[in-house]
Symmetry: C2
DNA sequence: CGCATTCTTGCACTCTCTGCAAAGTTGCGC
DNA sequence: GCGCAACTTTGCAGAGAGTGCAAGAATGCG
């Protein structure tokens, strides 16, 4: 998909393509904020982004993807630079999910997406389901990590794979719920107003802390 | 989905309605098994079930629901008979999910659904997403249980709700992965073929055991 | 039997999404 | 600059999902 011949930086083509994608995403998010998810048609998004209906589908496979600004290529690229050795599997899985999510994102995007997700939490579930499509690939990566972990050393490959799936699922749930909190967190408060958008890393740290708390209480 | 053969006290109308739902479900599942999920159209399902396209939508809101034979009414009914006091939150949540799943299910249904899920694991994710739609209601129920649990006694209501959401998510992931195993388990063995379908309860017991194992290893 | 309720169905319609082919752009070597 | 190759945009045609409506059929109950 990516062109390999970069003589100096990015060509006009790639820049234009990125611009169009951004325009469609912004249009989609704004319209959904104004009118709601179901009330926003792809025709309307295309019109605001000044492209044809057909071109919309050249950039995003669905309305939801456009609203969230998901860049399939960036996600795939992220998967290819996964590191081999990892200390704590749980932390590593969170890092992985974090990387995938951050893969598609500018700055403006995030504020918009946050507002959109606050208005339509179902999108978050959808987002997770998307990651779940990568379940097989991700699980194998995680299972590979587990092989190097003494606590899973006695298991068979099949057992490790199943446990990897479970760990992935658990981490995804944790992230989703934390994101929900993030989206729902009202930052129009009175306090010092500097950077009131939470640092994404903080969200993940908090997520992993919550998970550990719950796991301890339940064991 | 109500048992078609259970005519106790039900009028002809209700029996016929159950029969039609069953017929549509069977037709959908069989066609998907034969031709695949995307290749099966609602028109084809309707034709095999001998109803009109329009009638299909009187029974199921989507193709996926028909394939899985989901009975929205039965699920809702199940939610209403949730017990108050519960011993172990984790076990209780599994019981709850179990009840919801079993709510829609005849006997024949299960063998079919199993084969279908084996062929199209995405349906399982979809199934879980459906339960996730009940997240708010379920989470509140679970949060109520947590209030009676000493380990969560010091938390605020908001904290308990968030942890309830997380617990629900974790249990759902666990169930999904166990179901995957269940669907994938090859039962074409040599022995007598009657009841080699694993007992659903066993699946849940195994699921909860797997979860505990992983949680212990990760703490 | 007759009336109210419910179920089925056809019809028309919107919306998502895909394939195809024609026309326009861009990049690059010459 | 020229022209070719690659890429992009767009319109068009069409399948498929899903909904609202209203006419007509089946059912149940008094």
């Amino acid at each position: 998909m990516r062109d390999v011949n970069d003589s100096s930086g990015l060509g006009l083509r790639e820049r234009k393509r990125a611009q169009t994608a951004e325009a469609i995403h912004i249009a989609a998010a704004e319209l959904v904020l104004e009118n709601g998810l179901d009330e926003t048609t792809i025709d309307a998004i295309s019109a605001r982004a000044d492209v044809s209906n057909r071109t919309f589908f050249n950039y995003f496979p669905s309305k939801e993807d456009a609203v969230l600004g998901i860049d399939e290529g960036a996600v795939a690229a992220e998967l290819d630079k996964v590191h081999d050795t990892q200390e704590d599997p749980l932390a590593a899985v969170f890092d992985l999910i974090y990387a995938i999510f951050e893969a598609s994102g500018g700055k403006q995007r995030k504020e918009l997406s946050r507002a959109v997700i606050r208005k339509h939490p179902q999108l978050m579930t959808r987002q997770m389901a998307r990651v779940a499509d990568l379940e097989d690939r991700l699980s194998e990566i995680i299972a590979g990590w587990l092989r190097d972990d003494e606590r899973f050393a006695d298991d068979t490959d099949a057992e490790r794979l199943e446990q990897a799936r479970l760990i992935l699922g658990i981490c995804l749930s944790t992230v989703r719920i934390s994101m929900r909190r993030w989206a729902g967190h009202d930052h129009s408060g009175s306090g010092a107003g500097s950077s009131d958008t939470p640092d994404p890393r903080k969200i993940y740290e908090r997520a992993i802390a919550t998970l550990r708390t719950v796991m301890e209480k339940l064991s």
